[in-house]
């Protein structure tokens, strides 16, 4: 009895190990993204982000070449976002979404960006999902890194 139990235990353990090996062999490669992140990957992710920050910075500061390249007209008055918001001050991305008095509606940061483009800058409103909007958003959030989230704050 004892030998039989030992044999069964051995076989079940062996089959479990075999199954695990099979999982590792066949399923494993498909789940390679679960490996710890590599420094190269981190750099690639960061570079992708910072490229958007850089483009957003240029758009925010009224760089004509970047605006043209991205197909947007953010201003027709010579005004750029940064003229009222140096270093993105007073944009308060951490307070959105919130009721925005100028628009008399519950608004996102993207709504507010478009309001500034249309009103003070007298430019052309941009698609909220466009590359230019994402870049502007990336720059504004990046520049406010460390500010405390206070959604809804006036």
């Amino acid at each position: 009895m004892t030998d039989r139990t030992t044999l069964l235990t051995f076989l079940s353990r062996a089959s479990l190990a075999g199954m695990l090996a099979a999982v590792a062999l066949f399923v494993g490669p498909a789940a390679a993204h679960k490996d710890p992140v590599t420094p190269q990957q981190l750099k690639a992710y960061q570079d992708a982000f910072m490229e958007q920050v850089r483009k957003g910075d240029l758009l925010f500061h009224g760089d004509d070449a970047t605006a043209k390249q991205m197909g947007v007209t953010l201003s027709t008055t010579g005004m750029a976002c940064a003229m009222c918001h140096p270093m993105t001050s007073d944009t308060h991305p951490q307070s959105f979404p919130k009721f925005q008095a100028q628009m008399t509606k519950f608004a996102t940061l993207r709504d507010m960006i478009n309001w500034c483009i249309e009103k003070p800058n007298q430019g052309e409103k941009i698609d909220p999902d466009s590359d230019a909007m994402k870049a502007l958003e990336a720059y504004i959030y990046w520049s406010n890194t460390g500010s405390v989230l206070v959604p809804g704050r006036y």
């Binding site: 910072m50 920050v53 850089r54 483009k55 910075d57 240029l58 500061h61 760089d63 070449a65 970047t66 008055t77 010579g78 005004m79 940064a82 003229m83 009222c84 918001h85 140096p86 270093m87 993105t88 001050s89 007073d90 308060h92 307070s95 008095a101 100028q102 500034c116 009103k119 003070p120 990046w142 520049s143 406010n144 890194t145 460390g146 500010s147 405390v148 206070v150 704050r153 006036y154």
Partner: protein, 377 residues
């Protein structure tokens, strides 16, 4: 401790010695003329409001002589009319209001940044508009006036960038805090337009710490004050504040220590400055410093360094081009008292009334921009 913190601590240690304060004779006000407007009836309210001297004035007087007023306008940032008439309209309004002051101001000081990009047509447009103020006018330059042609056109139009005159017992001094920027353009082979572009970007990182008085001008200042009674009022006009508020935006002069050294013996020094586009008040040693509004647009307060003595201006409506901007009158009384009045268009209250009124109630942590340091783009 950050570099900025270290310098701030040094500034406090050097300047805020026990007992070192300017003479307390200063008031900041925003008189409201609404009741007078009402006397004229609703139909004329708009006209009255537009023409009544709702001015940022500073009245300066010396005991022995008559009280008087003068007016300050600055930071009009004129673009050519073809591009943007909004700033032109506001400049015209300010100049008309100065001219309508009753009793009239003895003179108008224009505190710099007449133009936006230093163009000849922008500067000439400014001269044209300012002609409507028939009183005496004096000028100091701003960086926006200077860095397209390094002050050539400005000099042709307005003469020397620093000067002094005595008026009814007060010594007035105009300083040039903009023309002594370290050369950031030659090595990089910038065009004049590129040089101007970097200078015109408040949060740019390329032009660096450009604001300064310079050794030569400090020596001139010392000489100019040498024969002046140390207890009589001195008013110094400068584009940038003569202390350190926020260097990344050149809300300072880099040689504030030397400026303070020169001014230390004088007990009634008032520095009136532009550039910040906001209400500011500070005391540094025996000098007080008062920030003036722009006519063009208001800047937010810097994320740190706002002087504790400043009662902040009210948070403004970005949808109203006339909000948060205007000009100032100064009264000089017979008791050496200086009183400044902020004429902020469209506001009865210039100063914050509650936390919610203040942009400072929402703290920000901000990073400097990056894209302009990757030259060329």
């Amino acid at each position: 401790m950050s570099e900025l913190d270290k310098v701030r601590r040094e500034m406090a240690a050097v300047l805020q010695q026990p007992g070192a304060r300017p003479d307390p004779a200063l008031r900041l006000t925003r008189r409201t003329f609404i009741h007078r407007s009402c006397l004229f009836g609703a139909a004329t309210v708009a006209e009255t409001f537009a023409w009544w001297p709702l001015l940022n004035t500073i009245d300066v007087a010396y005991a022995a002589e008559a009280p008087f007023k003068f007016a300050w306008i600055s930071d009009t940032h004129l673009y050519p009319k073809s591009l943007n008439t909004r700033f032109v309209d506001k400049t015209i309004r300010a100049v008309k209001e100065v001219q309508a002051m009753n009793p009239p101001a003895d003179f108008l000081i224009f505190g710099g940044d007449l133009a936006q990009l230093g163009k000849i047509e922008e500067l000439e447009l400014g001269v044209e508009i300012l002609k409507d103020a028939k009183i005496r006018k004096v000028y100091i330059p701003g960086e926006h006036d200077w860095y397209l042609d390094l002050g050539k056109k400005w000099g042709e139009l307005f003469g020397e960038a620093h000067w002094t005159f005595d008026h009814k017992g007060v010594r007035f001094i105009g300083l040039d805090t903009v023309s002594r920027a370290p050369d950031y353009w030659t090595m990089r082979k910038m065009t004049p337009e590129e040089r101007m572009g970097h200078m015109a970007t408040l949060d740019g990182t390329v032009a660096g710490p450009w604001a300064g008085v310079g050794r030569d001008q400090l020596d001139w200042l010392q000489k100019t004050l040498a024969n002046w009674d140390r207890n009589r009022p001195v008013v110094i006009f400068s584009h940038n504040p003569l202390y350190e508020y926020y260097p990344p935006w050149n809300f300072w002069v880099r040689d504030w220590r030397d400026v303070n050294e020169v001014l230390k013996p004088y007990t009634k020094v008032t520095n009136i400055h532009g550039h910040v586009h906001q209400v500011l008040y500070n005391e540094i040693g025996t000098m007080r410093s008062v920030g003036m509004l722009a006519t063009s647009w208001p800047w937010p307060y810097a994320p740190e360094g706002v002087p504790k003595l400043t009662k902040p201006m009210i948070r403004v409506d970005p949808g109203d081009p006339y909000d948060g901007v205007g000009w100032e009158t100064w009264n000089v009384s017979a008791k050496d008292e200086l009183e400044t009045e902020y004429i902020m268009w469209g506001r009865k209250q210039v100063f914050v009334q509650s936390d919610a009124d203040s942009s400072l109630s929402q703290p920000e942590i901000l990073r400097p921009r990056i894209a302009d340091s990757q030259w060329p783009y």
